[in-house]
Protein backbone atom coordinates (compact mmCIF):
# COMPACT_ATOMS: atom_id res chain seq x y z
CA UNK A 1 0.00 0.00 0.00
CA UNK A 2 2.67 2.48 1.07
CA UNK A 3 4.81 1.24 -1.79
CA UNK A 4 1.97 1.85 -4.21
CA UNK A 5 1.40 5.37 -2.97
CA UNK A 6 5.07 6.20 -3.33
CA UNK A 7 5.19 4.64 -6.76
CA UNK A 8 2.26 6.73 -7.95
CA UNK A 9 3.72 9.90 -6.47
CA UNK A 10 7.04 9.12 -8.12
CA UNK A 11 5.45 8.64 -11.55
CA UNK A 12 3.41 11.79 -11.19
CA UNK A 13 6.56 13.69 -10.31
CA UNK A 14 8.41 12.18 -13.26
CA UNK A 15 5.56 13.13 -15.60
CA UNK A 16 5.67 16.65 -14.25
CA UNK A 17 9.42 16.95 -14.86
CA UNK A 18 9.01 15.67 -18.39
CA UNK A 19 6.23 18.15 -18.97
CA UNK A 20 8.40 21.02 -17.77
CA UNK A 21 11.29 19.92 -19.99
CA UNK A 22 8.95 19.46 -22.91
CA UNK A 23 7.49 22.92 -22.46
CA UNK A 24 10.97 24.39 -22.20
CA UNK A 25 12.17 22.84 -25.45
CA UNK A 26 8.95 23.66 -27.24
CA UNK A 27 9.30 27.28 -26.26
CA UNK A 28 12.89 27.27 -27.50
CA UNK A 29 11.69 25.90 -30.82
CA UNK A 30 9.04 28.55 -31.29
CA UNK A 31 9.68 31.08 -34.00
CA UNK A 32 11.05 34.30 -32.54
CA UNK A 33 12.60 34.87 -29.14
CA UNK A 34 11.38 32.42 -26.48
CA UNK A 35 10.43 35.17 -24.12
CA UNK A 36 9.25 37.98 -26.29
CA UNK A 37 7.80 36.29 -29.35
CA UNK A 38 8.16 38.37 -32.45
CA UNK A 39 7.60 41.71 -30.80
CA UNK A 40 10.10 44.48 -31.00
CA UNK A 41 11.18 45.64 -27.55
CA UNK A 42 13.92 47.96 -26.41
CA UNK A 43 17.45 46.57 -26.39
CA UNK A 44 17.96 47.26 -22.67
CA UNK A 45 14.79 45.43 -21.66
CA UNK A 46 15.81 42.47 -23.78
CA UNK A 47 19.20 42.41 -22.12
CA UNK A 48 17.66 42.57 -18.69
CA UNK A 49 15.30 39.75 -19.56
CA UNK A 50 18.10 37.66 -21.01
CA UNK A 51 20.08 38.13 -17.85
CA UNK A 52 17.18 37.41 -15.59
CA UNK A 53 16.30 34.18 -17.39
CA UNK A 54 19.90 33.34 -18.22
CA UNK A 55 19.39 33.21 -21.95
CA UNK A 56 23.02 34.07 -22.54
CA UNK A 57 24.07 30.86 -20.79
CA UNK A 58 24.41 27.36 -22.36
CA UNK A 59 21.25 25.34 -22.99
CA UNK A 60 21.62 22.94 -20.04
CA UNK A 61 22.08 25.82 -17.63
CA UNK A 62 19.05 27.51 -19.10
CA UNK A 63 17.07 24.33 -18.55
CA UNK A 64 18.20 24.18 -14.93
CA UNK A 65 17.33 27.84 -14.40
CA UNK A 66 13.94 27.18 -15.98
CA UNK A 67 13.37 24.24 -13.66
CA UNK A 68 14.44 26.38 -10.76
CA UNK A 69 12.02 29.13 -11.69
CA UNK A 70 9.14 26.76 -12.32
CA UNK A 71 9.57 24.84 -9.09
CA UNK A 72 9.81 28.07 -7.15
CA UNK A 73 6.48 28.87 -8.74
CA UNK A 74 7.69 31.62 -11.06
CA UNK A 75 6.02 31.15 -14.41
CA UNK A 76 7.42 34.28 -16.01
CA UNK A 77 5.87 37.50 -17.18
CA UNK A 78 3.16 37.67 -19.81
CA UNK A 79 4.35 39.66 -22.79
CA UNK A 80 0.91 40.65 -23.85
CA UNK A 81 -0.35 41.78 -20.47
CA UNK A 82 3.05 42.69 -19.07
CA UNK A 83 2.04 41.10 -15.78
CA UNK A 84 3.36 38.01 -14.00
CA UNK A 85 1.62 34.87 -15.27
CA UNK A 86 1.17 33.82 -11.63
CA UNK A 87 -0.94 36.91 -11.04
CA UNK A 88 -3.15 36.19 -14.01
CA UNK A 89 -3.62 32.59 -12.94
CA UNK A 90 -4.42 33.66 -9.40
CA UNK A 91 -7.03 36.05 -10.73
CA UNK A 92 -8.55 33.86 -13.44
CA UNK A 93 -8.30 30.33 -12.09
CA UNK A 94 -11.06 30.64 -9.45
CA UNK A 95 -13.58 31.26 -12.23
CA UNK A 96 -12.39 28.26 -14.20
CA UNK A 97 -12.33 26.09 -11.11
CA UNK A 98 -15.86 27.12 -10.18
CA UNK A 99 -17.09 26.34 -13.69
CA UNK A 100 -15.16 23.05 -13.84
CA UNK A 101 -16.33 21.79 -10.45
CA UNK A 102 -19.96 22.54 -11.24
CA UNK A 103 -19.65 20.74 -14.56
CA UNK A 104 -17.80 17.82 -12.97
CA UNK A 105 -20.36 17.29 -10.24
CA UNK A 106 -23.28 17.63 -12.61
CA UNK A 107 -21.69 15.31 -15.18
CA UNK A 108 -20.80 12.55 -12.74
CA UNK A 109 -24.00 12.61 -10.70
CA UNK A 110 -26.33 12.83 -13.70
CA UNK A 111 -24.19 10.47 -15.77
CA UNK A 112 -24.21 7.81 -13.07
CA UNK A 113 -27.96 8.13 -12.55
CA UNK A 114 -28.66 7.95 -16.28
CA UNK A 115 -26.37 4.95 -16.64
CA UNK A 116 -28.08 3.14 -13.77
CA UNK A 117 -31.53 3.80 -15.21
CA UNK A 118 -30.47 2.62 -18.65
CA UNK A 119 -28.92 -0.58 -17.29
CA UNK A 120 -31.76 -1.47 -14.93
CA UNK A 121 -34.41 -0.73 -17.54
CA UNK A 122 -32.34 -2.42 -20.20
CA UNK A 123 -34.07 -2.79 -23.53
CA UNK A 124 -36.94 -0.44 -22.63
CA UNK A 125 -37.63 3.03 -23.98
CA UNK A 126 -35.81 4.49 -20.97
CA UNK A 127 -32.68 2.72 -22.04
CA UNK A 128 -33.04 3.77 -25.66
CA UNK A 129 -33.74 7.36 -24.72
CA UNK A 130 -30.88 7.79 -22.29
CA UNK A 131 -28.41 6.10 -24.59
CA UNK A 132 -29.60 8.20 -27.51
CA UNK A 133 -29.00 11.33 -25.43
CA UNK A 134 -25.62 9.96 -24.40
CA UNK A 135 -24.46 9.30 -27.92
CA UNK A 136 -25.58 12.77 -28.97
CA UNK A 137 -23.64 14.10 -26.00
CA UNK A 138 -20.39 12.43 -27.02
CA UNK A 139 -20.89 13.42 -30.66
CA UNK A 140 -21.53 17.13 -30.36
CA UNK A 141 -18.45 19.17 -29.41
CA UNK A 142 -18.78 21.53 -26.47
CA UNK A 143 -18.30 24.68 -28.51
CA UNK A 144 -21.33 23.75 -30.62
CA UNK A 145 -23.45 22.94 -27.58
CA UNK A 146 -22.34 26.17 -25.94
CA UNK A 147 -23.13 28.31 -28.96
CA UNK A 148 -26.52 26.68 -29.47
CA UNK A 149 -27.49 26.99 -25.81
CA UNK A 150 -26.45 30.61 -25.82
CA UNK A 151 -28.38 31.29 -29.01
CA UNK A 152 -31.62 29.63 -27.98
CA UNK A 153 -31.76 30.09 -24.22
CA UNK A 154 -30.00 33.39 -23.74
CA UNK A 155 -30.78 35.21 -26.97
CA UNK A 156 -33.97 33.82 -28.51
CA UNK A 157 -35.77 32.94 -25.28
CA UNK A 158 -35.21 36.48 -24.07
CA UNK A 159 -36.48 37.87 -27.37
CA UNK A 160 -39.58 35.68 -27.37
CA UNK A 161 -40.59 36.04 -23.75
CA UNK A 162 -39.14 39.42 -22.97
CA UNK A 163 -37.66 37.99 -19.78
CA UNK A 164 -33.93 37.33 -19.52
CA UNK A 165 -33.89 33.94 -17.79
CA UNK A 166 -30.26 33.41 -18.63
CA UNK A 167 -27.79 36.18 -19.28
CA UNK A 168 -25.91 35.99 -22.56
CA UNK A 169 -22.48 36.22 -21.00
CA UNK A 170 -20.64 36.57 -17.71
CA UNK A 171 -20.35 34.65 -14.46
CA UNK A 172 -22.44 36.70 -12.03
CA UNK A 173 -25.27 35.05 -10.19
CA UNK A 174 -26.59 31.52 -10.38
CA UNK A 175 -28.56 31.98 -13.61
CA UNK A 176 -25.43 32.97 -15.51
CA UNK A 177 -23.69 29.79 -14.40
CA UNK A 178 -26.31 27.34 -15.64
CA UNK A 179 -25.76 27.44 -19.40
CA UNK A 180 -21.92 27.37 -19.36
CA UNK A 181 -21.80 24.58 -16.76
CA UNK A 182 -24.31 22.52 -18.69
CA UNK A 183 -22.58 23.10 -22.02
CA UNK A 184 -19.25 22.08 -20.52
CA UNK A 185 -20.60 19.03 -18.71
CA UNK A 186 -22.61 17.48 -21.53
CA UNK A 187 -19.93 15.39 -23.22
CA UNK A 188 -18.53 14.19 -19.89
CA UNK A 189 -22.02 13.41 -18.70
CA UNK A 190 -22.53 11.31 -21.81
CA UNK A 191 -19.22 9.52 -21.34
CA UNK A 192 -20.00 8.73 -17.71
CA UNK A 193 -23.49 7.48 -18.46
CA UNK A 194 -22.32 5.18 -21.24
CA UNK A 195 -19.58 3.79 -19.07
CA UNK A 196 -21.87 3.42 -16.08
CA UNK A 197 -24.45 1.58 -18.15
CA UNK A 198 -21.91 -0.93 -19.47
CA UNK A 199 -20.36 -1.38 -16.07
CA UNK A 200 -23.74 -1.73 -14.41
CA UNK A 201 -24.93 -4.33 -16.90
CA UNK A 202 -21.72 -6.20 -16.37
CA UNK A 203 -22.19 -6.16 -12.59
CA UNK A 204 -25.86 -7.11 -12.83
CA UNK A 205 -24.92 -10.27 -14.69
CA UNK A 206 -22.48 -11.32 -11.96
CA UNK A 207 -23.12 -14.32 -9.78
CA UNK A 208 -23.24 -12.32 -6.57
CA UNK A 209 -26.26 -10.45 -7.88
CA UNK A 210 -27.97 -13.80 -8.28
CA UNK A 211 -26.91 -14.61 -4.72
CA UNK A 212 -28.45 -11.37 -3.50
CA UNK A 213 -31.63 -12.14 -5.41
CA UNK A 214 -31.73 -15.65 -3.95
CA UNK A 215 -31.68 -14.09 -0.46
CA UNK A 216 -35.00 -12.46 -1.24
CA UNK A 217 -33.77 -8.89 -1.63
CA UNK A 218 -35.86 -6.54 -3.74
CA UNK A 219 -34.64 -5.32 -7.11
CA UNK A 220 -34.18 -1.90 -5.53
CA UNK A 221 -31.98 -3.24 -2.73
CA UNK A 222 -29.98 -5.32 -5.19
CA UNK A 223 -29.34 -2.36 -7.46
CA UNK A 224 -28.46 0.16 -4.76
CA UNK A 225 -26.73 -2.02 -2.18
CA UNK A 226 -24.94 -4.55 -4.35
CA UNK A 227 -24.64 -3.33 -7.91
CA UNK A 228 -24.01 0.42 -7.84
CA UNK A 229 -20.98 0.33 -5.55
CA UNK A 230 -19.21 -2.19 -7.73
CA UNK A 231 -20.31 -0.60 -10.98
CA UNK A 232 -19.01 2.82 -9.95
CA UNK A 233 -15.38 1.64 -9.79
CA UNK A 234 -14.63 2.00 -13.52
CA UNK A 235 -16.27 5.43 -13.46
CA UNK A 236 -13.81 6.55 -10.78
CA UNK A 237 -10.90 5.58 -13.01
CA UNK A 238 -12.07 7.90 -15.79
CA UNK A 239 -12.47 10.89 -13.48
CA UNK A 240 -8.89 11.89 -14.32
CA UNK A 241 -9.38 11.98 -18.11
CA UNK A 242 -12.76 13.62 -17.52
CA UNK A 243 -11.19 16.43 -15.53
CA UNK A 244 -8.79 16.90 -18.43
CA UNK A 245 -11.66 17.03 -20.90
CA UNK A 246 -13.51 19.57 -18.75
CA UNK A 247 -10.42 21.68 -18.41
CA UNK A 248 -9.73 21.86 -22.12
CA UNK A 249 -13.44 22.12 -22.84
CA UNK A 250 -13.50 25.19 -20.66
CA UNK A 251 -11.19 26.96 -23.13
CA UNK A 252 -14.03 27.29 -25.59
CA UNK A 253 -16.96 27.52 -23.20
CA UNK A 254 -15.32 30.43 -21.36
CA UNK A 255 -14.77 32.10 -24.70
CA UNK A 256 -18.36 31.70 -25.82
CA UNK A 257 -19.85 32.97 -22.58
CA UNK A 258 -17.11 35.55 -21.98
CA UNK A 259 -16.22 34.16 -18.57
CA UNK A 260 -13.01 35.73 -17.29
CA UNK A 261 -11.44 32.35 -16.54
CA UNK A 262 -8.10 30.87 -17.50
CA UNK A 263 -9.36 29.20 -20.65
CA UNK A 264 -10.15 32.52 -22.16
CA UNK A 265 -6.65 33.78 -21.34
CA UNK A 266 -5.11 30.61 -22.71
CA UNK A 267 -6.90 30.79 -26.06
CA UNK A 268 -6.15 34.49 -26.30
CA UNK A 269 -2.48 33.86 -25.57
CA UNK A 270 -2.37 31.36 -28.43
CA UNK A 271 -3.89 33.90 -30.78
CA UNK A 272 -1.51 36.65 -29.64
CA UNK A 273 1.54 34.35 -29.51
CA UNK A 274 2.11 35.24 -25.86
CA UNK A 275 4.80 32.63 -25.23
CA UNK A 276 5.34 32.97 -21.51
CA UNK A 277 1.63 32.94 -20.94
CA UNK A 278 1.26 29.78 -23.01
CA UNK A 279 4.07 27.94 -21.29
CA UNK A 280 2.99 29.13 -17.87
CA UNK A 281 -0.63 28.15 -18.24
CA UNK A 282 0.32 24.86 -19.92
CA UNK A 283 2.48 23.96 -16.94
CA UNK A 284 -0.21 24.99 -14.53
CA UNK A 285 -2.82 22.90 -16.33
CA UNK A 286 -0.43 19.97 -16.63
CA UNK A 287 0.46 20.04 -12.96
CA UNK A 288 -3.15 20.42 -11.96
CA UNK A 289 -4.22 17.39 -13.97
CA UNK A 290 -1.28 15.26 -12.92
CA UNK A 291 -2.23 15.90 -9.31
CA UNK A 292 -5.89 15.23 -10.08
CA UNK A 293 -4.95 11.91 -11.67
CA UNK A 294 -2.82 11.03 -8.70
CA UNK A 295 -5.68 11.73 -6.31
CA UNK A 296 -8.07 9.63 -8.40
CA UNK A 297 -5.61 6.73 -8.42
CA UNK A 298 -5.14 6.90 -4.68
CA UNK A 299 -8.86 7.22 -4.06
CA UNK A 300 -9.50 4.14 -6.19
CA UNK A 301 -7.10 2.16 -4.07
CA UNK A 302 -8.91 3.15 -0.90
CA UNK A 303 -12.41 2.54 -2.20
CA UNK A 304 -11.98 -0.95 -3.61
CA UNK A 305 -11.16 -3.41 -0.82
CA UNK A 306 -10.27 -6.18 -3.29
CA UNK A 307 -7.42 -4.55 -5.01
CA UNK A 308 -4.17 -4.68 -3.23
CA UNK A 309 -3.05 -1.28 -4.27
CA UNK A 310 0.03 -2.51 -6.09
CA UNK A 311 -2.24 -4.20 -8.57
CA UNK A 312 -4.28 -1.18 -9.55
CA UNK A 313 -4.15 -0.58 -13.28
CA UNK A 314 -1.75 -3.39 -13.96
Amino acid sequence: MIKYIFKRIFYSFLTLIILVALTFFMMRLLPGDPFIGQKAIPETTLKALNEKYGLDKPMWQQLLIYFGNVFRGDLGISIHYNRPVNDIIRQAFPYSFDLGIRALIFATVMGILLGIIAAVKRGTHWDTLSMFLAIIGVSVPGFIVGSLLQYFFALKLTQWTGIAFFPNTGWNGFAAKILPSFALSLSSLATVSRLMRTSMMDVLSQDYIKTAKSKGLSQKAIVWKHAVRNAIMPVITVLGPISAALLTGAFVVENIFAIPGMGKFFVYSIQTQDHTMISGTTLFYGAFLIIANLLVDLAYGFIDPRVKLSEVKE
Binding site: L14, L22, I135, V138, F143, I144, V252, I270, Y285, L289
Partner: protein, 316 residues
Protein backbone atom coordinates in the same frame (compact mmCIF):
# COMPACT_ATOMS: atom_id res chain seq x y z
CA UNK B 1 -47.05 -40.01 -18.09
CA UNK B 2 -48.32 -43.42 -17.24
CA UNK B 3 -46.94 -46.54 -18.75
CA UNK B 4 -50.20 -48.12 -19.84
CA UNK B 5 -50.32 -46.97 -23.40
CA UNK B 6 -51.79 -48.38 -26.54
CA UNK B 7 -50.34 -51.30 -28.34
CA UNK B 8 -47.44 -50.42 -30.61
CA UNK B 9 -46.67 -52.20 -33.83
CA UNK B 10 -43.76 -54.64 -33.61
CA UNK B 11 -42.02 -53.11 -36.63
CA UNK B 12 -41.57 -49.93 -34.68
CA UNK B 13 -39.19 -51.75 -32.39
CA UNK B 14 -36.77 -52.61 -35.16
CA UNK B 15 -33.34 -51.76 -33.88
CA UNK B 16 -31.41 -49.34 -36.07
CA UNK B 17 -28.55 -48.77 -33.66
CA UNK B 18 -26.16 -45.90 -33.68
CA UNK B 19 -26.28 -43.95 -36.89
CA UNK B 20 -22.90 -42.24 -37.25
CA UNK B 21 -24.19 -39.77 -39.82
CA UNK B 22 -26.66 -38.59 -37.22
CA UNK B 23 -24.00 -37.51 -34.81
CA UNK B 24 -23.02 -34.43 -36.72
CA UNK B 25 -26.52 -33.25 -37.48
CA UNK B 26 -27.44 -33.44 -33.82
CA UNK B 27 -25.28 -30.52 -32.86
CA UNK B 28 -26.15 -26.88 -33.45
CA UNK B 29 -25.01 -25.18 -36.60
CA UNK B 30 -21.69 -23.39 -36.54
CA UNK B 31 -21.78 -20.01 -38.13
CA UNK B 32 -18.45 -18.47 -39.01
CA UNK B 33 -17.39 -15.63 -36.77
CA UNK B 34 -17.27 -12.89 -39.38
CA UNK B 35 -20.44 -14.02 -41.11
CA UNK B 36 -22.24 -14.02 -37.81
CA UNK B 37 -20.83 -10.61 -36.92
CA UNK B 38 -21.94 -9.21 -40.26
CA UNK B 39 -25.43 -10.59 -39.79
CA UNK B 40 -25.64 -8.99 -36.35
CA UNK B 41 -24.39 -5.68 -37.68
CA UNK B 42 -26.87 -5.68 -40.52
CA UNK B 43 -29.66 -6.14 -37.99
CA UNK B 44 -28.59 -2.97 -36.17
CA UNK B 45 -30.58 -0.26 -37.96
CA UNK B 46 -28.76 2.66 -36.34
CA UNK B 47 -25.35 1.31 -37.31
CA UNK B 48 -26.40 0.71 -40.91
CA UNK B 49 -27.92 4.19 -41.16
CA UNK B 50 -24.67 5.58 -39.73
CA UNK B 51 -22.66 3.67 -42.30
CA UNK B 52 -24.80 5.07 -45.11
CA UNK B 53 -24.37 8.61 -43.75
CA UNK B 54 -20.61 8.15 -43.53
CA UNK B 55 -20.48 6.95 -47.13
CA UNK B 56 -22.61 9.87 -48.32
CA UNK B 57 -20.53 12.44 -46.43
CA UNK B 58 -17.31 10.93 -47.75
CA UNK B 59 -18.56 10.90 -51.34
CA UNK B 60 -19.80 14.48 -51.08
CA UNK B 61 -16.47 15.58 -49.65
CA UNK B 62 -14.64 13.94 -52.52
CA UNK B 63 -16.85 15.05 -55.39
CA UNK B 64 -18.65 18.29 -54.50
CA UNK B 65 -15.51 20.50 -54.51
CA UNK B 66 -14.50 18.98 -57.87
CA UNK B 67 -17.82 19.62 -59.59
CA UNK B 68 -18.94 22.80 -57.88
CA UNK B 69 -19.17 25.91 -60.06
CA UNK B 70 -17.39 27.83 -57.25
CA UNK B 71 -13.98 27.44 -55.72
CA UNK B 72 -13.41 27.61 -51.99
CA UNK B 73 -11.82 31.05 -52.03
CA UNK B 74 -13.85 32.69 -54.79
CA UNK B 75 -15.30 35.88 -53.26
CA UNK B 76 -18.57 37.55 -54.20
CA UNK B 77 -18.48 40.73 -52.20
CA UNK B 78 -21.76 41.76 -53.81
CA UNK B 79 -23.72 39.22 -51.78
CA UNK B 80 -22.09 38.42 -48.47
CA UNK B 81 -24.05 36.41 -45.88
CA UNK B 82 -26.51 35.31 -48.54
CA UNK B 83 -29.30 33.12 -47.10
CA UNK B 84 -29.71 29.40 -47.77
CA UNK B 85 -30.74 28.63 -51.34
CA UNK B 86 -29.73 32.08 -52.62
CA UNK B 87 -29.55 32.20 -56.42
CA UNK B 88 -26.72 34.34 -57.72
CA UNK B 89 -28.29 36.81 -60.19
CA UNK B 90 -25.03 37.29 -62.10
CA UNK B 91 -24.32 33.67 -63.06
CA UNK B 92 -27.58 31.93 -62.15
CA UNK B 93 -25.91 29.36 -59.88
CA UNK B 94 -27.41 28.54 -56.54
CA UNK B 95 -25.62 29.01 -53.21
CA UNK B 96 -27.36 26.08 -51.57
CA UNK B 97 -26.02 26.88 -48.09
CA UNK B 98 -25.69 30.63 -48.74
CA UNK B 99 -22.44 32.59 -48.63
CA UNK B 100 -20.09 33.76 -45.88
CA UNK B 101 -18.64 37.11 -44.83
CA UNK B 102 -16.66 37.36 -48.06
CA UNK B 103 -19.42 36.01 -50.27
CA UNK B 104 -17.79 32.62 -50.65
CA UNK B 105 -20.07 29.66 -51.41
CA UNK B 106 -20.63 27.77 -48.17
CA UNK B 107 -21.80 24.57 -49.87
CA UNK B 108 -18.46 24.25 -51.65
CA UNK B 109 -16.52 25.28 -48.58
CA UNK B 110 -18.32 22.81 -46.30
CA UNK B 111 -17.54 19.85 -48.52
CA UNK B 112 -14.04 21.04 -49.10
CA UNK B 113 -13.76 21.38 -45.32
CA UNK B 114 -15.05 17.85 -45.05
CA UNK B 115 -12.20 16.71 -47.27
CA UNK B 116 -9.62 18.30 -45.00
CA UNK B 117 -11.28 17.21 -41.77
CA UNK B 118 -11.81 13.64 -42.93
CA UNK B 119 -8.32 13.48 -44.42
CA UNK B 120 -6.78 14.66 -41.16
CA UNK B 121 -8.88 12.26 -39.09
CA UNK B 122 -8.38 9.22 -41.30
CA UNK B 123 -4.62 9.75 -41.65
CA UNK B 124 -4.17 10.45 -37.96
CA UNK B 125 -6.09 7.34 -37.01
CA UNK B 126 -4.19 5.29 -39.58
CA UNK B 127 -0.87 6.44 -38.13
CA UNK B 128 -2.11 5.77 -34.61
CA UNK B 129 -3.13 2.33 -35.72
CA UNK B 130 0.27 1.54 -37.19
CA UNK B 131 2.29 2.91 -34.28
CA UNK B 132 -0.11 1.42 -31.74
CA UNK B 133 -0.11 -2.04 -33.19
CA UNK B 134 3.69 -2.15 -33.50
CA UNK B 135 4.34 -0.68 -30.06
CA UNK B 136 1.62 -2.68 -28.35
CA UNK B 137 2.58 -5.82 -30.23
CA UNK B 138 6.21 -5.61 -29.19
CA UNK B 139 5.38 -4.66 -25.64
CA UNK B 140 2.80 -7.39 -25.18
CA UNK B 141 4.82 -10.05 -26.92
CA UNK B 142 8.12 -9.27 -25.20
CA UNK B 143 6.62 -8.94 -21.74
CA UNK B 144 8.86 -8.60 -18.70
CA UNK B 145 11.20 -5.63 -18.37
CA UNK B 146 10.69 -4.41 -21.95
CA UNK B 147 6.95 -4.37 -21.47
CA UNK B 148 7.32 -2.66 -18.12
CA UNK B 149 9.44 0.16 -19.54
CA UNK B 150 7.26 0.59 -22.61
CA UNK B 151 4.14 0.79 -20.50
CA UNK B 152 5.69 3.32 -18.11
CA UNK B 153 6.45 5.50 -21.13
CA UNK B 154 2.81 5.33 -22.17
CA UNK B 155 1.74 6.10 -18.63
CA UNK B 156 3.84 9.24 -18.63
CA UNK B 157 2.52 10.35 -22.02
CA UNK B 158 -1.00 9.75 -20.80
CA UNK B 159 -0.27 11.68 -17.65
CA UNK B 160 -0.15 14.89 -19.65
CA UNK B 161 -3.49 15.92 -21.14
CA UNK B 162 -3.19 15.18 -24.85
CA UNK B 163 -4.77 18.43 -26.02
CA UNK B 164 -2.05 20.38 -24.23
CA UNK B 165 0.71 18.45 -26.00
CA UNK B 166 -1.10 18.84 -29.29
CA UNK B 167 -1.47 22.58 -28.75
CA UNK B 168 2.24 22.93 -27.96
CA UNK B 169 3.17 20.93 -31.06
CA UNK B 170 0.80 22.91 -33.23
CA UNK B 171 2.47 26.11 -32.15
CA UNK B 172 5.96 24.85 -32.88
CA UNK B 173 5.28 23.20 -36.23
CA UNK B 174 4.36 25.24 -39.31
CA UNK B 175 0.59 25.49 -39.72
CA UNK B 176 -0.84 23.04 -42.20
CA UNK B 177 -2.76 19.85 -42.75
CA UNK B 178 0.13 17.49 -42.10
CA UNK B 179 0.97 19.32 -38.88
CA UNK B 180 -2.50 18.51 -37.62
CA UNK B 181 -2.02 14.86 -38.49
CA UNK B 182 1.41 14.71 -36.85
CA UNK B 183 0.28 16.57 -33.75
CA UNK B 184 -2.62 14.22 -33.17
CA UNK B 185 -0.64 11.12 -34.05
CA UNK B 186 2.11 12.03 -31.57
CA UNK B 187 -0.14 11.32 -28.62
CA UNK B 188 -3.12 9.47 -30.05
CA UNK B 189 -1.51 6.07 -30.44
CA UNK B 190 -1.24 5.20 -26.76
CA UNK B 191 -4.80 3.92 -26.50
CA UNK B 192 -4.34 1.57 -29.41
CA UNK B 193 -0.97 0.39 -28.10
CA UNK B 194 -2.47 -0.44 -24.70
CA UNK B 195 -5.34 -2.27 -26.29
CA UNK B 196 -3.15 -4.36 -28.57
CA UNK B 197 -0.77 -5.12 -25.72
CA UNK B 198 -3.61 -6.24 -23.46
CA UNK B 199 -5.04 -8.47 -26.15
CA UNK B 200 -1.70 -10.02 -26.95
CA UNK B 201 -0.87 -10.53 -23.29
CA UNK B 202 -4.03 -12.53 -22.77
CA UNK B 203 -3.85 -14.34 -26.10
CA UNK B 204 -0.29 -15.46 -25.85
CA UNK B 205 -1.09 -17.64 -22.87
CA UNK B 206 -3.72 -19.45 -24.89
CA UNK B 207 -3.01 -23.04 -25.72
CA UNK B 208 -2.93 -22.69 -29.48
CA UNK B 209 -0.25 -20.03 -29.30
CA UNK B 210 1.77 -22.08 -26.85
CA UNK B 211 1.36 -24.98 -29.26
CA UNK B 212 2.69 -22.90 -32.16
CA UNK B 213 5.62 -21.84 -30.00
CA UNK B 214 6.41 -25.40 -29.00
CA UNK B 215 6.41 -26.38 -32.66
CA UNK B 216 9.11 -23.79 -33.24
CA UNK B 217 7.27 -21.00 -35.00
CA UNK B 218 9.25 -17.76 -35.06
CA UNK B 219 7.92 -14.79 -33.06
CA UNK B 220 7.10 -12.76 -36.17
CA UNK B 221 5.03 -15.62 -37.46
CA UNK B 222 3.24 -16.09 -34.18
CA UNK B 223 2.39 -12.39 -34.09
CA UNK B 224 1.16 -12.13 -37.66
CA UNK B 225 -0.55 -15.49 -38.04
CA UNK B 226 -1.99 -16.07 -34.62
CA UNK B 227 -2.14 -12.97 -32.49
CA UNK B 228 -3.13 -10.19 -34.86
CA UNK B 229 -6.14 -11.88 -36.44
CA UNK B 230 -7.56 -12.42 -32.98
CA UNK B 231 -6.91 -8.84 -32.00
CA UNK B 232 -8.58 -7.58 -35.15
CA UNK B 233 -12.11 -7.21 -33.85
CA UNK B 234 -11.21 -5.00 -30.89
CA UNK B 235 -8.86 -3.02 -33.11
CA UNK B 236 -11.57 -2.38 -35.70
CA UNK B 237 -13.89 -1.11 -33.02
CA UNK B 238 -11.17 1.08 -31.56
CA UNK B 239 -10.36 2.57 -34.96
CA UNK B 240 -13.99 3.37 -35.64
CA UNK B 241 -14.34 5.03 -32.25
CA UNK B 242 -11.10 7.04 -32.57
CA UNK B 243 -12.23 8.76 -35.74
CA UNK B 244 -14.81 10.93 -33.96
CA UNK B 245 -12.15 11.82 -31.41
CA UNK B 246 -9.80 12.89 -34.22
CA UNK B 247 -12.56 14.91 -35.86
CA UNK B 248 -13.25 16.56 -32.54
CA UNK B 249 -9.59 17.39 -32.00
CA UNK B 250 -9.32 18.95 -35.45
CA UNK B 251 -12.47 21.00 -34.89
CA UNK B 252 -11.37 22.03 -31.42
CA UNK B 253 -7.90 23.16 -32.51
CA UNK B 254 -9.30 25.09 -35.46
CA UNK B 255 -11.89 26.62 -33.19
CA UNK B 256 -9.28 28.01 -30.81
CA UNK B 257 -7.30 29.35 -33.75
CA UNK B 258 -4.77 26.60 -34.42
CA UNK B 259 -6.39 25.19 -37.52
CA UNK B 260 -5.29 24.84 -41.11
CA UNK B 261 -4.16 28.20 -42.56
CA UNK B 262 -6.20 30.18 -45.10
CA UNK B 263 -7.06 29.67 -47.92
CA UNK B 264 -7.63 26.09 -46.73
CA UNK B 265 -10.83 25.39 -44.84
CA UNK B 266 -11.84 22.59 -42.52
CA UNK B 267 -15.03 22.03 -40.59
CA UNK B 268 -13.28 23.41 -37.53
CA UNK B 269 -12.16 26.64 -39.22
CA UNK B 270 -15.62 27.05 -40.76
CA UNK B 271 -17.16 26.67 -37.31
CA UNK B 272 -14.65 29.14 -35.94
CA UNK B 273 -15.55 31.71 -38.62
CA UNK B 274 -19.24 30.99 -38.19
CA UNK B 275 -19.15 31.41 -34.43
CA UNK B 276 -18.00 35.02 -34.75
CA UNK B 277 -21.22 36.04 -36.48
CA UNK B 278 -23.37 33.30 -35.00
CA UNK B 279 -25.88 35.50 -33.26
CA UNK B 280 -26.60 37.41 -36.46
CA UNK B 281 -26.29 34.62 -38.99
CA UNK B 282 -26.81 31.33 -37.16
CA UNK B 283 -26.55 29.18 -40.28
CA UNK B 284 -22.88 30.13 -40.63
CA UNK B 285 -22.10 28.03 -37.55
CA UNK B 286 -24.96 25.57 -37.68
CA UNK B 287 -23.99 24.10 -41.07
CA UNK B 288 -20.41 23.11 -40.19
CA UNK B 289 -21.64 22.17 -36.70
CA UNK B 290 -24.14 19.72 -38.20
CA UNK B 291 -21.41 18.23 -40.41
CA UNK B 292 -19.06 17.75 -37.47
CA UNK B 293 -21.72 16.37 -35.16
CA UNK B 294 -23.36 14.13 -37.74
CA UNK B 295 -20.04 12.60 -38.76
CA UNK B 296 -18.98 12.05 -35.15
CA UNK B 297 -22.40 10.62 -34.32
CA UNK B 298 -22.29 8.26 -37.29
CA UNK B 299 -18.85 6.94 -36.40
CA UNK B 300 -19.87 6.52 -32.78
CA UNK B 301 -23.03 4.64 -33.75
CA UNK B 302 -21.13 2.49 -36.22
CA UNK B 303 -18.43 1.80 -33.62
CA UNK B 304 -21.02 0.80 -31.04
CA UNK B 305 -22.73 -1.41 -33.58
CA UNK B 306 -19.45 -3.04 -34.54
CA UNK B 307 -18.55 -3.63 -30.92
CA UNK B 308 -21.87 -5.33 -30.27
CA UNK B 309 -21.58 -7.34 -33.47
CA UNK B 310 -18.00 -8.42 -32.97
CA UNK B 311 -18.17 -9.25 -29.29
CA UNK B 312 -18.25 -13.02 -29.19
CA UNK B 313 -19.56 -13.00 -25.66
CA UNK B 314 -22.87 -11.71 -26.99
CA UNK B 315 -23.07 -14.52 -29.50
CA UNK B 316 -25.92 -16.87 -28.77
Amino acid sequence: MDSKIKHIDKSQFERIGLDKSDIKTVSGQNTSYWKDAFRRLSMNKAAIAALVIIIIITLFSIFVPAFSPYTISEQHLGHTYAPLGFRDPTDGHMHLFGTDSLGRDIFTRVWYGGRISLFISFSAVLINFIIGIIYGGISGYAGGVVDNIMMRIIEIINGIPYLIIVILLMMVLPAGTMTMVIAYATVGWTGMARLVRGQIMSLKEQDYVVAAKVMGARPARIITKHLLPNTLSVVIVNITLSIPSAIFTEAFLSYIGLGVPVPLASWGTLANEGSRVFQMYPSQLIIPAICISLTMLSFNLLGDGLRDALDPRLRK
